[in-house]
Amino acid sequence: MDPFTLTAHDCRELLSSGRVSATELANLYLDQIERVEGDVGAFLLVDREGALAQAAAVDAKAPADRLPWEGVPIGLKDLLCVEGMETTCGSRILKGYRPPYDATVVAKLRAAGLVFLGKLNMDEFAMGSSTENSGYHLTRNPWDLERVPGGSSGGSAACVAAAEAPWSLGSDTGGSIRQPASLCGVVGLKPTYGAVSRYGLVAFASSLDQIGPFARTVRDAAALLDLIAGGDPMDSTSLGLPGPITVPDRTDLGGLRFGIIREYLGEACEPGVRAVFDDAVAAIQSLGGVCEEVSLPSVEKGVAAYYIIAPAEASSNLARFDGVRYGHRAAGGVDLLDMYNRTRSEGFGDEVKRRIMIGTYVLSAGYYEAYYGQAQRTRTLIIEDFRRAFGAVDYLISPTSPTVAFGVGERTQDPLAMYLSDLCTIPVNLAGLPGISIPGGFAGGLPVGIQLVGPHFSEQGLLDASYALEQRLDVRSRPPIAEVTR
């Protein structure tokens, strides 16, 4: 079996038909991890023993007694709390931290019988667009090992792209699922804010964070979304979805109207990316969909609003990392204040410190209205623009990222340049809308993603439309690393 050809649905079929045992399937992926991890570095922790134990438990049951997805392996972004399993959020400040509880989505997957392969690399505390801010090691793009996989869920995207797991979970605050999905040529979905419980997702920006699936196909992403969605009494901001997600099978786009977001096709957008996007538009039209240009003028202010709101919330969310109850504590602190300063300065990386400083600044006395207040009002304006657009069209489309994967180290010296790579994805988080990135094609051999955005809680329709487009585009998903033999 070649993991590059297996979808999660295929895995399920193999297991239920009895052609493959859960242990064999787990080993298939563990072997693949062995083979490529040296180059890709998607994982922070591979739990070989735990995964095989889970697989053995599945094998102990007759196929007829198993739940539908029992035995299918998955990778989990290290921002998700897994009880008893080291969870670092890509940060040195949480080295050795073992959560005393499972995140709600983790508990759901556990109850569904999925096999946890391990924890995936990420930008520290989800702050970044390249996974270069991980406190541990680099993750490389399986399509070109000298390039980044995107971020902050770079490990989650690379893992699927390199067939180290059929699917994975990541999180998205400003594009952290969609952008790496685009750069790595896989499917990534950010659900509507509130569709999936955040309990157990270490908070970055509470009003923006959502957990979502990475997969090789839209159908797989839909199935994983169905497994994790739902309101949760432990999360006051969660609502769930209006109903279960059924696996999409739509073959045409007749009767649907797609809005092309004008503001995302400006000079920031690389020509190669633009070309792939134009092909996607043509594909939509060939399927009977109608495309028209829409303008969302306020999205140009989205990055600015985001870089006030997200750091502000993050500066508060990260205050709990103080060396008292868990995580790193610096040695040699003469008193509490000294211990706090040392612990946090030693434990956090540069980008995290930068954002904590920005956040503290914009919330500090005298600045609140001018920054945070303004940003929250800008948010209202952005929501209004989207609402108006959805009055005219069913879905919005754009390139997911203005560029293909950039080189390792290329943007690390210029934080602002790094921030601007999230131009297309950020406003979707500010508005709390669902967004998906599907492979659109290639520019210079590197993946280009197409982003589709729908109104709140339109996940089913969004997945259906994405599926039809995905089938039409039929983008190959075998990166060079597939040919590596070790």
Partner: protein, 484 residues
Amino acid sequence: MNDWEAVIGLEIHVQLATATKMFCGCPVSFGEPPNTRVCPVCLGHPGTLPVTNERAVEYAARIALALDCSIAPRTIFHRKNYFYADLPKGYQISQFDLPLGLGGHLDVELDDGSTFHVGITRVHMEEDAGKLVHAGGATGRIHGADHSLVDFNRGGTPLVEIVSEPDLRTPEQARSFLTHLRSLLQHLDVSDVNMEEGSLRCDANVSVRRRGAPFGVRTELKNMNSFRYLQRGLEVEIERQIEALEAGETIVQETVHFDPVSGRISSLRSKEESHDYRYFPEPDLVPIELDEAYVQRVRSSLPEFPAARRERLQQHYGLSPYDAGVLSANRELGDYFERVAELVNDDKLSANWVTGNLSGYLNAAGLEVGESTVTPEALAGLLRFLADGTLSGKLAKDVFQMMTESGREAADIVAERGLGQISDVGELEAMIAGIVDANPGPAEDFRHGNDRVLGFFVGQVMKQTKGQANPQLVNDLLRRRILG
């Protein structure tokens, strides 16, 4: 000194007697072993989220309504950001500019009958911090401690903060206000309001000014844990401020601590600057909108408050101000009295026994009203025997004593011991006839004006009836028999 006036405002924290904490399901506890009533949420573990306790909201609404506040149609939580060892998240979830209750008041009656009006600025909800113990030093206080230990059992307990307007003018008024507030809160059944245990905490803001002048610089007196210390601490601080100002010094706005042992005020000013709490709306919680129906429901569930009850007891039962005062200050005692009064046709008698004999017994035995072995119905039974003359006052007291010890009904005890006062006129007449006939001499003495000799006859009747004859009746019947 005469033209100086103090200006005092109080900030009171009330720990709510809910079953669980404000934002998680850990039981609210007191005195448990450290860190045994905690969970990932109240320990501030990464990834955890708060969920608001509905009963805490109800209790807070009760407090706000009892203080005559208006309930905000939309109230939200804010984060108050600062670092401290007892604050697990590095912020406290509290309320800032959209608190639950605004603009109320509490009228306080002083002993001399005058009332003064104290405005309530706001009532809001928040969570409590953990408990810090300072170790390694001599005094157990922060200064000189070598390290500190943190217990998070208390962390997350629901608190309601009540802020008064700076309407108080003397330490006595402050104490009186706090006493009244405590009694009110007790009536609401929302908290143990025990200052020693920390379920009622009080900070005071105090400044002085010459009468007519604008407000002076205020200091904050923190964590006074008894009424007496509050009053004393305020007295000392006010004196300190006046002395300083009269000596030409200025008052620094700072936090001060009153040490009841030494009677001295010391500054708590730390090396750091004052906090910038960087308040912003709590993104993990959603707004609470209490509609008119909810507010009405809570309002109609409020118990009758002491002042109103006192009035009513005087009007309806004709009780003295003193008795009415006693029976309205303690809600359960008042309830007990009203139940007894329902069953017995003598309000004054009922009041006397409840405020006197019953209270005496409860105090001596160290019992709450609810723990009394004598129920209102049982006491009513006893009082009926008194009212109809079956028992004399003295005997009734004895029977009551036996009732408290045994928990038995008066009727049982009276019947068993044959204690019923003999009030049967026929029976007594017959007996009296016999005694008078047997003592013609003393009878003749009485007819000739020697009143005192009646006592001899009464004694004889009592002897024969073993003290159970109704004395008044005996008197009357003897006179009739002797005088014809």
